[in-house]
Amino acid sequence: MGTWTPTAAGLVPAGLTQSAARGGIGESVRRPDGALKVTGAFAYSSDLWHRDMLWGRILRSPHAHARILAVDVSAALALPGVHAVLTHDDLPAAQKTYGLELADTPVLADGVVRHHGEPVALVAADHPETARRAAELIRVDYRELPVVTDEASATAPGAVVLHPDRDDRHAYRAPHPNVLHRQPIVRGDVAAAARRADVVVTGDYEFGMQDQAFLGPESGLAVPAADGGVDLYVATQWLHSDLRQIAPVLGLPEEKVRMTLAGVGGAFGGREDLSMQIHACLLALRTGRPVKIVYSREESFLGHAHRHPARLHYEHGATRDGRLTHVRCRIVLDGGAYASSTAAVVGNAASLGIGPYRVEDVEIEAIGLYTNNPPCGAMRGFGAVQACFAYEAQMDRLAAGLGMDPVELRRINAMRQGDLMPTGQRVDSPAPVAELLRRVRDMPLPPPLDTEDPDIRDLPGGLANTSHGEGIVRGIGYAVGIKNVGFSEGFDDYSTARVRLEVVDGEPVAMVHTAMAEVGQGGVTVHAQIARTELGVEQVTVHPADTQVGSAGSTSASRQTYMTGGAVKNTCGAVRERVFAAGRRRFGGDRPAWGGAGLRLDGGKVVTADGEVLATLAEVLEGEEPIDLELEFRHRPTEPFDPVTGQGFGHVQYSFAAHRAVVDVDVELGLVKVVELACAQDVGRALNPLSVVGQIQGGTVQGLGIALMEEIRVDPATARVLNPSFTDYLVPTVLDAPAVPVDLLELADPHAPYGLRGVGEAPTLSSTPAVLAAVRQATGKALTRVPVRPEHIVD
């Protein structure tokens, strides 16, 4: 405690100096869990353990479409060590389905399975091996049904209808019951505009099914509670959304399902849908024992929604001087057997379907299908990724048709602040599309390949020793993309933050409590930074995320720093006002400065606008109750897209990134080595520059993955997944990941906290088409499908 010294200004604590809190926003504060993860000491959800716990196991359908004629669990139940076997008939509540947007997904199959890997029955046993054997002993009598696997088969006359009794909000405008959602967007007069075009290019493109490929398999632990409820520890992306879906199926009120976030081993959208949550709770409530479920890798590939594969048709026209006259496009997204977030993905694909370009006359149609393919839902980039791959290929095709430099064509048509989206929404914050392209183009190029004495690790094929320099051609390609930030189309999105400020042992200490799922994005780091900056306190504790505080919304859509970061900032501001009020109460009588405007908290002290120190936080709060506030924060409202015209103020914020890819291609063998993927991105404000660069580099490499190798292969005849393992689902290794120089632009968005822009997804968009453009330049091939396979390059 400082001593009090009389001065001209009254009583002030002695020995006070100004010092800004370290570790505030704008600093590259290190992650609290970084070293733990690198050294293998971090506890993931799969590491959870409880005394007396049982192991849960899910029996999944080997067929993509079949009627279940009978299920016999007697042999499984008779196996020693088995405590419960559950099927659809054992579900305890009237509510037997769940879903993110539509509750169309059975908790356990109800007489029919609609995709390969659909859960049919559950087992709890005292050992995982016993549970596995018991699951094998369950006899399920299937009668296989024909499968629908694409638009043609799903909408053919007489096609089997997957969800015959639809009454969801999209059903009335769907052209066919196997079309989950359709969003048209129409602006201007495309037919007239097309007549002004000097050059028109069309293209058909195909985007394969990418997986999030997080390393931590789905897992969690459900512990039954004395009050008849359950405590669930689980790796997820949105605790409260899980809770909303779990509780009704258990027949419990939400307050009896208490959720705590367990260590998350990556997400990328793949944990937005429920996986083992309900299953573990059902088994725990049935057996009265804690139940742990951990997916195997194969099960993980079968058990979560992937990125939508897509077929895209585009027509672009331009006048001879390179100005776009019009764009027509049709995007068909395969949502698989259940809705997941397909409708929102359709809205994104449509509204962002022509990219960051100014076009007056546009006709867009996006549809999402129900098929017997694996369910598809959220993945980093969410509908914008598929479109970007196609519209950027089109821009290159158009540039070739015009005899124009592809970057110049993009510059001429680049959107700027104030321009209109195809939805009619005015872009009312910086849109530095041309500037980002200029920046990546102007970055120094990597040195040319040393063909005399190359290090084979730098060559396509690497240590597999396929080339010593023969057959290798370098290519360079560019792309730029636009992604929305936050939830769109009128969704009432909010985040909650609770902040507590108190004095402990004479030191001011803040605690931030939210339900934000830390999935690797760095929220836990940034929340502490925000609290330090806003409260002028160095010691900040981030409380584990749970449902004892209000919803933080989803860790997705690049929204968490904006939304829950914004909520932390907002609540801190209210806490700060309470501090000032307490200070005024205590000291305001002696010091008129307490009543002045512009007081702030800095370095553990209350400071006036002029920098005069009024008191330490410790002095203000000593003997007071802790200040403890929980407040919600909202972004400005959006509105739905019109069902016919697609017009509407649909998105909260836009995010832009551009890439330049440099590749070396072995044109004889079809092997590719990405040499460099330079990225420029406007991030509004980098609250943690190190984290921001990490997000951009990660997103960039994930975009490279779908460009060259990542694909869930589904047998078109049976709709079965062919490669549910990391043996044949290939993700980039360190020898595939190129240098990713990053150039950050920080143009403030006046609507956003600190002016920041969500950063996590935009780099995933433009990375893929930039790589494709570079490979096309090296090979001269059209390459209209990703991932590009060696045979596409060679044939």
Binding site: E298, G462, A464, N465, T466, L669, M709, T733
Partner: protein, 293 residues
């Protein structure tokens, strides 16, 4: 599942005789994956980890006696001169962790057409020494692979070591995969020049039901080299010879379409690899090198 841990080779043979269906476990890099995926649930696992002699090798005058469990990392680090193709193949196996565990015995036991060691063994020339309580025998590598994931082992036999012919000329190995590391072969190719016998041997991986040699291509090349006196003159090989060799190597494939690649690309890529590896090896031979780089 019962876990058998013999302390010596004789115990291992006895255990295998008693439990012919027991699956030998060496590095575990194939077996454990299959068990984890539920593709295989053997009644017995026969752990060879305690049998030290399986991890030893000996360089003889004509051949290297390579223990079945010598890890790939050691082959890369210590046998590059004697077994250049096998060392190159070993370097292309999976990840550093796997290369520290896995060995040639496992590749041979699994006998997957995609195993990286096979083309190198076929090209160099090798014999697989197997043993049972009934006695030992040596199986020529050309006769070892009998079908997809099948080999000439009898149920009671274990692979003890491989006798690989020491390189007397340049050797090469090349593998096509769809990423730049840690990838199972889409197809692969091994090649060895044997200047002493004026022969060329090859090995094709993952482009037929079994690893196999491209016999016609080998014969053509040996003939062309001999006819033009190129072994002696060490002159450059006419492009038409390399081209024909490549075409014959491609023709020796019987590939399939699968999740990793198409038959057409496999055949094409084997041709490209055959031409490139031969030209690299021939260049090394012209420069007087004994082994490959």
């Amino acid at each position: 599942m019962e876990f058998l841990r013999p302390g010596c080779w004789e115990e291992a043979l006895a255990a295998k005789a008693e439990h012919p269906a027991a699956v030998p476990l060496a590095g575990g890099t194939d077996v454990m994956v299959e068990i984890n995926l539920g593709h295989r649930r053997p009644g017995h696992l026969l752990d060879l980890g305690r049998i030290g002699e399986l991890s030893e090798w000996e360089v003889g005058e004509r051949e290297v006696r390579l223990g079945a469990c010598v890890p790939y990392a050691r082959i890369v680090g210590e046998l590059g001169r004697e077994l250049p193709a096998l060392a190159l193949a070993s370097r292309a196996v999976a990840s550093p962790q796997i290369r520290n565990r896995g060995g040639v015995g496992g590749n041979l036991g699994t006998a997957s057409p995609a195993g990286d060691a096979h083309p190198a063994l076929l090209a160099a020339g090798a014999e697989v020494e197997v043993e049972s309580v009934r006695g030992a025998r040596r199986i020529p590598i050309d006769e070892f692979y009998t079908g997809v994931k099948r080999n000439a082992l009898r149920p009671d036999e274990l692979i003890k070591r491989v006798h690989v012919v020491r390189a007397t000329g340049p050797q090469q190995f090349s593998k096509v995969g769809t990423r730049n590391a840690m990838v199972i072969a889409v197809c692969s190719f091994g090649l060895a020049l044997h200047p002493g016998s004026r022969t060329v041997r090859t090995g094709i991986g993952s482009a037929a039901p079994t690893p196999r040699r491209a016999a016609e291509a080998e014969a053509f090349l040996a003939g062309a080299l001999a006819e033009a006196g190129l072994w002696e003159s060490r002159r450059a090989v006419p492009p038409s010879v390399a081209k024909r060799f490549a075409a014959l190597a491609a023709g020796a494939c019987s590939p399939i379409d699968d999740v990793r690649g198409t038959a057409g690309h496999r055949r094409h890529a084997v041709g490209v690899m055959a031409r490139r590896t031969f030209l690299w090896a021939w260049e090394a031979y012209r420069n007087g090198a004994e082994g490959a780089a």
